[in-house]
């Protein structure tokens, strides 16, 4: 009976810890093109995760530490020095008088040693926090509705090119392009081009697509 009560308390606690962080200010975004990482990131600000632990567990009932495991000093190709820090964050929580902890790795690189250390510790901290459910939406990529809208847009885009009428046009256009690929002489291409100019059967963009393919075929034949 006591065990069941404990387990329901833990479940309740997990629900509270893992509830979405709704404060709009909490969401931090970075664009891969700007950071040079090549991918976009979305996450929660460090303080909002700390707030969640404080609000749910209370000060003193949780804590964390960071151990720097590897520090590296290097130079970017421009000659600017940088520091890279990798470390291990450990978060402990006290539930029903018992201490439970979990550790995860994280890292960061920066031209300032302080920023590299700060970045590595918060990176590891956020990953560890997600194991307790705090800010897990960042790793599930369900952080906000923007993501949902993006997915919806992608679905709409795919749907928009698969309506029966458009499928028919697509097939006809594809067949035309396939025919162009087997044209054997440049003279035949000239005839195609003349007919293309006169016809109203295609829209302007479709004509440009066909013209592009004819140009490509002409180059192939010249080769």
């Amino acid at each position: 009976m006591a065990e069941k009560k404990e387990s329901s308390e833990i479940e309740k606690l997990y629900k509270l810890l893992s509830a979405p962080i709704t404060d709009k200010e909490a969401v931090q975004r970075s664009e891969g093109a700007k950071t040079g990482k090549g991918y976009d990131t979305t996450g929660f600000g460090y303080q909002f995760i700390v707030n969640r632990f404080n609000e749910v567990l209370g000060i003193g009932n949780w804590g964390w530490e960071f151990e720097s495991l590897k520090e590296f000093e290097g130079k970017y190709k421009t000659g600017t020095p940088f520091y890279a820090v990798t470390g291990l964050a450990t978060i402990f929580v006290i539930v029903n008088g018992q201490k439970t902890s979990h550790s995860e790795y994280g890292g960061h690189q920066s031209i300032s040693y302080t920023d590299a250390l700060k970045g590595a510790s918060t990176n590891a901290f956020k990953k560890t926090a997600a194991f307790f459910g705090v800010g897990k939406q960042a790793f599930e990529k369900t952080i906000d509705e923007d993501n949902l809208e993006r997915v919806k847009d992608e679905v709409k885009k795919v749907a928009s090119v698969t309506t029966p009428e458009q499928n028919k046009t697509k097939k006809t256009l594809e067949q035309t392009l396939l025919m162009i690929d087997v044209i054997a002489t440049e003279k035949a291409i000239d005839v195609w081009e003349q007919q293309l100019e006169k016809t109203d059967a295609w829209t302007d963009v479709q004509k440009r697509v066909i013209k592009g393919r004819l140009d490509a075929r002409r180059i192939e034949l010249k080769k």
Partner: protein, 216 residues
């Protein structure tokens, strides 16, 4: 089947598609006109680039002065179609040295009103047009080429002429007091990977956009 209008991707396509996809749609897909004000600097750059294609003196002092001072290359004004998987890359480099492989890009530019050059080492390092050419040569040869961005310093001279709105017309000349400025650019395999991802992304996006427009 891929439905496309341009059966290759060039630097100008990639750049425009990344910066402003809607402008790409307007120009490359719907055949809209490119709005260009062709400032004097641009015209001068074109005059030099066109003049350098010929392998002899042109009689145009501005062009010939550049010809004798530019680092020698094996090939000038190189236009190549290089296959990156299924994606044809069109490159137009100002110069290429074959061994060791080096890609050269010439730029003209005059200092701003504070005397600051329009090109710096930092800007050259970040200039993705050179990345694009270096990536294409990397795909072709398996070696990451060295890059050189060569600044041909110019000066902007106010003429007595004015345009229809009364604004002064400027002319551009080579700054004869200054040497060419060579910015060496080196790239790593990570830079190649970033460019590879950008090209694949743009190629896919362009294909999707053409299809959307073609089926409208």
């Amino acid at each position: 089947m891929d439905i496309r209008i341009k059966n290759y991707i060039s630097w100008s396509q990639l750049d425009l598609f990344e910066r402003d996809p809607e402008e790409y749609r307007r120009i490359y897909i719907n055949g809209g006109k490119r709005i260009s004000f062709a400032p004097a600097e641009q015209e001068y750059g074109k005059r030099i680039a066109d003049g350098l294609i010929e392998d002899k003196m042109t009689g145009d002092a501005e062009v010939d002065m550049c010809r004798v001072s530019l680092p020698p290359v094996d090939q000038k004004d190189v236009e190549e179609l290089i296959m990156f998987g299924d994606i044809p890359l069109l490159i137009k480099c100002d110069g290429v040295i074959n061994e060791p492989l080096e890609v050269h890009e010439y730029k003209t530019g005059h200092p701003d009103k504070f005397g600051k050059d329009s090109w710096t080492q930092k800007k050259a390092n970040e200039w993705r047009q050179l990345d694009f050419y270096m990536f294409a040569k990397f795909v072709q040869t398996g070696k990451i080429p060295a890059g050189k961005l060569i600044l041909i310093p110019t000066i902007k001279i106010k003429t007595k002429k004015t345009d229809n709105w009364g604004n002064p017309i400027y002319k551009i000349e080579r700054d004869k007091k200054r040497e060419l400025v060579v910015f060496p650019v080196t790239k790593t395999i990570s830079d190649m990977a970033l460019m590879s991802a950008a090209i694949k992304r743009a190629w896919k996006g362009i294909g999707q956009m053409v299809l959307e427009e073609a089926l409208k």
